[in-house]
């Protein structure tokens, strides 16, 4: 097919924030995750664990605990002392309420999801009622000295256990009185260090499970105040704990990065007496595992190494599928890089700043695999710090490289980049828009900017020379929509714009008439990337379940090729891939080519070639390279896959034979993480 000159970029210094807490939606298919920078993410298990929603963080907002309440409402609480409800359709922190007890260390929702209990710095446990439109303080429970680090409701909502330092107590919810107070080190002699109860759970049979900084998981009979079982799972602290809904399995996370499963198993086969047994150890993390969750079929853990690990319990899985394989997520399922093709600029988005780089160049050519000598080094042009405490939602650089925009939760900024790329000038008087913007996209001719907004709307701004802009129009879906738009795709000829909102509906607008053109037939999975073909105006859509469709915008129907793909089915290896496609682009010189990538592969999809069936190998590039020209013909198939660049955060075509790929080697950012707990290794 041809040779590409690949600009292999590894200077994007992204350090994903560590995972602070996890919350499985009760009886739902979503997982909420909060990072140490305050960002909250929602993963959808039904859509191949797609990172469906991201609410960027805020300097003043840390999240110590997340709770789902009344089904699908998500609350977070943190050390700023507020309880925050997240608006998942507008992807923002909606309402906050002061907890009134200083920093909040822990929060737990009751079984029905109608009440929230928070554990505060001042040692109080407070109950809040979840009411429509917010929460309401209900009452204080018995206050004792010592911050409440962890909380758990009894499944019948009658009692709450609260863990602090060296002690945990059981509180009767109706009377508000502490009915039992247990020193976790009572039976251990001469302990100098304090013992922090990091996580706690109250089981329906009256057993209290504690995880503490001595590396123990202990089971207490709270009514008797006795220790029933004690398992020392680690030499360092056990930081997190989660119980399966059936209460037959517990997962704990430790500060060495190991997670352990404990299971309630009969002492004798078929016997009725059961004991907790530490069954499976896992070492998927290199750093503290601060958060664990136990879904009905999987153990989920999140560590300070920014990894989310979903480890399926094979005994609970009925049939083979996407969720029967160990999944590790380190990088977001969306683009943090944008590229000015003509100007050869890259814009990197960090949580609170942007970096603009100019790519280097070479005069040489070479054969496959050769590294060409550089005649110009890449250049770091500008670092743009976002003002204020809010983190950046989205950013974009125009294809010509002269415009640059980004948005935070409350502000939208547009800059003019001077030709030499060294100075930025802020565009004054940007129109007041309904913020935040979730996606920014410049048109191919850099004359207009599309701003993805709430309620399914897209604002179209006209960019004016030398440095101004005006609001042209707001595109809205005719039937209305409550969810925000999170992906945009303008056509190269400036005729069409496709927009995907949180309800996974894809609306296509005619930009000439600013009219709604059509809706792509809905599919029951999240859209992870889409793009409009420059010459045919076909919309290529990648779904998070790895399906690919091609929809002709002028004809308002799926193309023949797309129907063939659907009829034939995609290759099994393609469908079993780990991460979703995050970017689609085209080769203007070769209309049958579609370029796509996910975190682990870069693929050129040649529509003119036959589709591979399951019996032929999907990755055949290395085989093909060994074959003589004549023999290659028969082996060719549509998917030309290159796995050389990993983990791949971005790939785009600069011109017909040069590519840019942005990699972020795991080791590069691991070295920037704080040192993990020192473990004695033999000989070091």
């Amino acid at each position: 097919m041809g040779e590409f000159e690949v600009h292999r970029v590894r200077f994007f210094g992204l350090v994903p924030a560590g995972v602070r807490c996890l919350a499985c939606q009760p009886r739902g298919s979503r997982l909420a995750l909060a990072r140490t920078d305050g960002a909250v993410e929602v993963y959808n298990f039904a859509a191949n664990y797609y990172q469906e929603k991201v609410i960027p963080g805020h300097e003043a907002r840390t999240v110590e605990s997340l709770c789902w309440a009344t089904g699908d409402r998500l609350f977070g609480a943190g050390l700023n002392g507020d309880i925050t409800e997240y608006d998942l359709s507008r992807l923002s922190a909606a309402r906050g309420a002061d907890g009134g007890g200083g920093p909040i260390w822990s929060m737990a929702a009751n079984g029905t999801g109608t009440q929230l209990a928070i554990g505060c710095e001042d040692g109080s446990v407070k109950i809040f009622q979840v009411i429509p439109g917010g929460i309401q303080f209900e009452r204080n429970l018995d206050r004792r000295k010592g911050r409440v680090l962890c909380l758990s409701w009894h499944p019948s909502d009658t009692h709450i256990v609260a863990g602090s330092i060296d002690v945990f107590r059981v509180i009767d919810v109706t009377s508000g009185q502490t009915v039992q107070r247990i020193m976790v080190n009572y039976h251990v002699e001469k302990v100098k260090r304090e013992c922090v109860v990091w996580a706690i759970a109250l089981l329906s049979r009256g057993t209290v499970v504690t995880a503490d900084s001595f590396g123990r998981v202990q089971f207490w009979d709270w009514q008797q105040g006795t220790l029933a079982e004690s398992h020392t799972v680690s030499t360092s602290a056990v930081l997190s704990l989660a119980v399966a809904e059936k209460e037959d399995s517990i997962v704990v996370g430790t500060s060495t990065g190991a997670t352990y499963q404990l299971q309630l198993l009969p002492v004798k086969l078929g016997g009725s007496e059961k004991r907790w047994v530490r069954t499976k150890p896992f070492q998927h993390h290199s750093h503290d595992v601060r958060a664990v969750a136990h879904s009905p079929t999987a153990l989920i853990s999140g560590g300070l190494d920014a990894q989310l690990v979903i480890r399926p319990l094979m005994e609970k899985v009925q049939k083979k599928g996407y969720d029967t394989v160990l999944r590790k997520f380190t990088f977001p399922h969306r683009r943090l890089v944008s590229c000015a093709r003509k100007a050869r600029l890259l814009l990197f988005q960090f949580s609170q700043h942007l970096e603009l780089w100019r790519l280097g160049s070479t005069r040489e050519t070479g054969k496959d695999g050769e590294v060409l000598p550089l005649c110009r080094m890449p250049e770091h042009l500008v670092q743009l710090k976002s003002k204020g405490p809010e983190h950046i939602y989205c950013s974009c650089v125009s294809p010509c490289g002269t415009w640059l925009g980004y948005s935070t939760a409350s502000r939208f900024h547009l800059y003019r980049v001077r030709c030499d790329g060294v100075s930025l000038r802020k565009v004054p008087k940007v129109p007041k828009l309904l913020l935040p913007a979730y996606q920014l996209q410049f048109s191919a001719d850099s004359n207009s900017l599309f701003v993805a907004s709430t309620r399914g709307s897209v604002h179209v701004l006209q960019l004016l020379e030398p440095g101004g802009c005006k609001h042209l129009h707001t595109l809205r879906p005719p039937s209305g929509c409550s969810e925000a738009v999170y992906l945009l795709a303008p056509s190269a000829d400036g005729h069409w714009l496709a927009a995907v909102s949180g309800d996974w509906a894809i609306h296509v607008y005619n930009l000439k008439s600013f009219k709604h053109h059509c809706v792509v037939p809905t599919y029951s999975c999240a859209v992870s990337a889409l793009a409009i073909h420059p010459s045919t105006n076909n919309l290529v859509i990648a779904y998070s379940d790895q399906q690919l469709v091609e929809f002709s915008i002028p004809e308002q129907q799926y193309t023949a090729w797309s129907r063939t793909v659907q009829r034939r089915g995609l290759h099994r290896c393609w469908l079993e891939r780990d991460t979703p496609i995050t970017h689609i682009t085209f080769n203007p010189k070769n209309p049958s080519h579609i370029l796509l990538h996910d975190t682990y592969l870069f693929c050129v999809l040649d529509k003119s070639l036959p589709l591979p069936d399951d019996s032929t190998p999907l990755m055949n590039q290395s085989t093909l390279k060994q074959l003589p020209e004549t023999a290659r013909k028969r082996q060719l198939h549509a998917f030309k896959i290159c796995k050389k660049f990993q983990p791949l955060l971005f790939a785009d075509l600069l011109d017909e034979n040069s590519l840019v790929v942005v990699e972020r080697p795991i080791m590069d950012f691991k070295t920037q993480l704080p040192l993990p707990v020192q473990q004695k290794k033999f000989g070091t």
């Binding site: 041809g2 040779e3 590894r10 200077f11 070479g366 060409l372 080791m667 070091t684």
Partner: protein
């Protein structure tokens, strides 16, 4: 390796015993069924050594074949008075009331097969399964064999079909019949006749649709006969060729076998009497490895046996004296090492192990051994032997081989013998060259034994140096060399033989350590392994200032101070100079080089006198320190011992003489020095370990740095 384990009595001296006895497996594990003296059958539980039940026939009736157990129904089947069949169950007490069927022909034997039910073999050669027979007990049974007598029979299951194999004899000719009663197929074969000997006992096993029949012949050999079961042609009387599997001879003595059983694919057990020419024959039970032709183990049975041997569930059953004895055994997969690793142990009577690498003709082999034996005999018996030898020689006069030549040369003068042997060695191009040379060396050693003044040192040396000999080929060579104090030959042997038994290694070690320095200085020894590192000048102590150059002298000094022993006193005497002379060191190096197994060597090493232990340990310590002087911890020179060999021997010595070392006052200083040195080394290496970790990490980081943050590469997509 196969080994005989403990034995116990299953049944004490009873009225029974004698050849009228038979054992069959019982209805379950750990059970055997004993039929004796024509009257009674007894069920024994082996592990409890007690009978569980006994059934006997009425007076006047005689059990005419062994009682068997139907493994499927757990019924017992007996035949009395040749043609009355009885079937009963465990709970039946009175045999008279048991099921009875009278048959129309005489029964030879009933074979019970685990999955096929019992099969009845009639004296006329007819075979019926019990089911068929019971349908019509009076059915006519054909006569297959005319007037041959059944000598042996066996039954197997082959592709769900019972197969009965039996051997018959008529006028010295032996025939084998294969019958498949369910297929009505019958094959008759004739056994290839063997001159002057006839089969004594048979045993057989089935493998890959072929029955392998092992025959114990009266010429003390075991032959193997393969009988294919998938035979379609109905040819008359095919002749079954036989091949020699095993020769039952043990360093000159011959085992006159009476019965044999197969243990596994490589092992057979033979019960018989070991007859040495000058000794009383004694009965013993032996296990032989057929793959390596070695006697693996044996057990003397001084009270005599009935000649019968059974084997079930890894246990032998035999009548020893008047009691029924059970001998357990273990039989493991044989490897060459296991087969040759054991030495002929002269101290344990009755147990004799021997490696027979000879691939010479069977008859010849016996002769050569007899001649070897005869050499050692006194001259007066020579006449007698010679006559016997000539008798044997007449048997195969046309075959002139190495063995024969050696025999002819037995009495030749020394110079003629050596000349002839040299000629023979240069001539022999046969595949059994190794074996022939082995015989040559054996012939020489035999002559040495016979004539104490005769010792062809240079000739032996030449053979050992030029040929790839092994200990097992000439087991007498090293003992003779040891006896003659031919240290040079011993050194060469130690360096070259791969399979020296631990006992021999020990004997050499002991001699090397005990021999006087004056004697050693006069002997010629290969000093290649020592010359490069040993301090020949003992008085030149001042030259050496450093014990080790690895940078832990301070450590050593400090430790020395702890014990308040002046450094001068120990370092000069123990470490700096070699505690032994170069000749002895060279010999000990040869010992260090030889291969050994710790388990076998350790018991011998325990016998080493304490003074010699200390001397050897001192030398090892010296070597150890010498090794540590170099960064690569190797000694210079050819065939110098490696650090691993040194350390292994140190450990061995310390293990073997732990208590002695604790008690002995002169060992104290040596041990404390050794300990300090080892401790310093351990610290040093643990430091190295740390450095290694850091260096690896640095390497890794370097590697990371190498991968640049930006590059333009060419990617071809096809």
């Amino acid at each position: 390796m196969a080994a005989l384990c403990e034995s116990f009595t299953l049944r004490g001296p009873g009225p029974g015993g004698g050849p009228g006895m038979s054992l069959e497996p019982g209805p379950g594990p750990d059970l055997v069924l004993l039929t004796e003296r024509g009257r009674a059958a007894t069920l024994f539980k082996i592990s409890d050594q007690k009978p569980l039940g006994c059934w006997s026939v009425k007076h006047g009736q005689v059990l005419t074949c062994p009682v068997v157990c139907n493994f499927e129904t757990h019924e017992y089947i007996a035949v009395h008075d040749d043609r009355v069949l009885r079937i009963w169950k465990n709970e039946d007490i009175n045999l008279d009331k048991a099921f009875k069927a009278t048959l129309s022909a005489d029964v030879h034997r009933i074979h019970s097969l685990p999955q096929g039910g019992p099969v009845v073999l009639f004296k006329g050669g007819g075979v019926r399964t019990l089911d068929v027979l019971l349908e019509a007990p009076q059915q006519e049974i054909e006569n297959v064999i005319s007037d041959e007598a059944i000598r042996w029979s066996g039954a197997f299951m082959e592709s769900q079909q019972p197969v009965v194999v039996f051997a018959t004899e008529k006028d010295g000719d032996f025939f084998v019949y294969v019958q498949k009663p369910k297929l009505d197929s019958l094959h008759k074969y004739r056994l290839e006749p063997q001159e002057s000997s006839k089969p004594l006992n048979f045993t057989a096993y089935l493998k890959n649709q072929t029955v392998t029949l092992l025959c114990l012949y009266s010429n003390d050999s075991v032959y193997q006969v393969l009988i294919p079961l998938q035979q379609d042609t109905e040819e008359e009387e095919q002749i079954l060729p036989k091949s020699l599997l095993l020769n039952l001879s043990v360093s000159g003595s011959v085992l006159k076998g009476t019965s044999l059983v197969v243990l596994d694919k490589d092992h057979v057990a033979v019960l018989g009497s070991l007859a040495a020419p000058d000794k009383e024959p004694k009965e013993c039970l032996t296990i032989w490895n057929t793959k390596f032709q070695t006697l693996q183990t044996s057990k003397a049975l001084p009270l005599g046996t009935s000649g019968q041997l059974w084997c079930y569930e890894e246990k032998f059953f035999l009548t020893h004296g008047k009691v029924l004895t059970v001998i357990m055994y273990k039989c493991e997969t044989s490897s060459l090492a296991a087969a040759v690793g054991k030495l002929k142990d002269s101290q344990t009577p009755g147990v004799s192990s021997f490696v027979n690498w000879d691939t010479l003709e069977g008859e010849d082999l016996v002769v050569s051994f007899q001649s070897q034996e005869s050499v050692a005999l006194k001259s007066e018996s020579r006449m007698n032997l010679r006559s016997r030898r000539s008798n044997v020689a007449k048997v195969q006069p046309e075959n002139f081989s190495v063995g024969q030549l050696l025999r002819n040369l037995k009495d030749a003068p020394t110079n003629v013998l050596e000349k002839e042997l040299k000629q023979l060695m240069s001539k022999t191009q046969t595949p059994d060259l190794q074996a022939a040379i082995g015989s040559v060396v054996t012939a020489l050693t035999n002559r040495c034994k016979a004539n104490p003044r005769y010792y062809p040192q240079s000739f032996l040396l030449q053979i050992v140096e030029t040929r790839d000999l092994s200990y097992s080929l000439c087991p007498d060579l090293m003992p003779i060399a040891l006896e003659k104090r031919d240290f040079y030959l011993l050194q060469i042997c130690l360096q070259r033989f791969p399979d020296i038994p631990e006992q021999m290694i020990y004997a050499c070690l002991k001699t090397f350590l005990s021999i006087s320095d004056a004697y050693l200085r006069m002997t010629e020894v290969d000093l290649d392994s020592v010359i490069c590192y040993i301090d020949v000048e003992f008085n030149n102590k001042g030259v050496k200032t450093e014990i080790v150059e690895n940078g832990f002298n301070a450590e050593l000094d400090q430790d020395t101070c702890d014990t308040k022993i002046p450094r001068q006193s120990h370092s000069k005497s123990d470490v700096e100079s070699c505690p032994i002379g170069p000749h002895r060191a060279a010999l000990l190096n040869a010992i260090l080089h030889s291969a050994y197994s710790e388990t076998f060597l350790l018991p011998h090493l325990k016998n080493l006198p304490a003074q010699q232990v200390i001397l050897f340990l001192r030398y090892l310590y010296y070597l150890y320190v010498k090794c540590s002087e170099k960064v690569n911890t190797t000694l210079p020179g050819v065939r110098s011992p490696t650090i691993n060999q040194i350390i292994d021997w140190m450990c061995l010595l310390l293990d073997a003489h732990f208590t002695v070392m604790v008690i002995l006052p002169e060992a104290r200083e040596l041990l404390s020095n050794l300990h300090k040195f080892v401790r310093a080394q351990v610290r040093f290496y643990s430091e190295l370990n740390k450095i290694e970790g850091s260096l690896r990490e640095l390497q890794r980081l370097n590697h990371l740095r190498d991968s640049q943050t930006y590059s333009i590469e060419v990617l071809e997509i096809i």
